[in-house]
Symmetry: C2
Subunit: 188 residues, 2 copies
DNA sequence: GCAAAATTTGAATGGTCATTCAACTTTTTT
DNA sequence: AAAAAAGTTGAATGACCATTCAAATTTTGC
């Protein structure tokens, strides 16, 4: 029980950051706005995270952890490279990830990452992980796995961008579309 | 000749804005930094554009105008829906558009647009234009044009995101990849 | 060449914001 | 229940920034 309150606040504030960025945008967000989301003060946020920059890092880490968890869950029941590829794609559009707020925040982080070392580092790690999984799945499936991987990743990123723009299709529909896209990409 | 200096400065400052955003990011940019790019003062920028917000609007408009011009040029020699579709796709990766700095700025504007009415308006107009062109080309080509259009647009957006991340493939290569992607999407 | 219009900027102005800190309250430990 | 530790915040602090403005310089129209 030693760390209960600390952990609760930590989670609350990361969630508040996602909602606040979704509402106001990364460029215009302030600690006061984030605090208002859960009735905390700006000073309190600094007490827990040390700086705004570290809070953003923790928030991005949370999104990546969700993606990773969704991927592992789906991998558990996937047999063969084709099923593992579908697991990777479907994880990207998992119900817990593919929400309007989180799509929005994800795109904001993509835009901000090149200028924030903490975010850039996390992004690099994630991209490398996804790339290597996709490659491993695709090598035994298609003659030009690298080209297919790039196209697939571009498609998935593009769907996130579209979702952040407004017309959100819903996670289940996004998964279905992505699956049929993958099938077409692999040559039916 | 009445408007020469005004027009020159206007163009210089919009170009400076692209470079400055590429270097520092939309979230951290200041008028002073943009001015430094061409040896102008922050006050001077306000004299020409009235506000930072309007400068950003003019900058986005410049990117959209480039896209539009590239599209029209390529349309001029395109006969039939299939050629017009390739023109639309290739225009997206035109040499004058698909540079590291402009990819970077484009993604930043995607992220910022939902929170800046001026940018949102321009974005909406552009997306509607591209959507309608793509639809018109695809209807006679595939049984499910709407699905193909969404996939194609997601792919193109995703390539821009990837380019903004760092690994830039170069415009010519991007066009070649996009063309072969389109071919595969339409069923070889 | 000269007056008027356009351009340019240094120096205010007013506002915002992250961060710090001292004081206060709540929770935990013993 | 007292002391210690953890949590909380209002009010500084210091920095930064868009915007304004008056004064200076340059360009243009004649």
């Amino acid at each position: 029980m030693r760390k209960r309150i600390r952990d609760i606040r930590h989670d609350e504030l990361v969630e508040a950051t996602i909602q606040a960025i979704h509402k106001t945008g990364y460029a215009g967000i302030t600690l006061a706005m984030i605090g208002d989301e859960v009735g905390a003060s700006a000073a309190s946020i600094n007490y827990y995270f040390g700086s705004k920059e570290k809070l953003m890092g923790a928030t991005m880490q949370r999104l990546l952890a969700l993606l990773h968890a969704a991927h592992l869950e789906r991998l558990a029941t996937a047999e063969g490279p084709r099923a593992r590829l579908d697991a990777l794609v479907a994880a990207n559009f998992d119900d817990r990830l593919f929400t309007p707020a989180q799509c929005s925040v994800w795109v904001q982080f993509w835009a901000a990452a090149p200028y924030a070392p903490d975010l850039a580092r996390l992004q690099r790690i994630n991209r490398a992980r996804v790339r290597s999984h996709a490659r491993a799945c695709l090598v035994p499936l298609v003659p030009q796995p690298e080209e297919a991987r790039r196209a697939l990743q571009a498609y998935m990123d593009g769907v996130w961008v579209a979702a952040a723009q407004g017309g959100a299709p819903g996670a289940a529909e996004a998964r279905a579309k992505a699956t049929s896209f993958t099938a077409r990409l692999l040559g039916d």
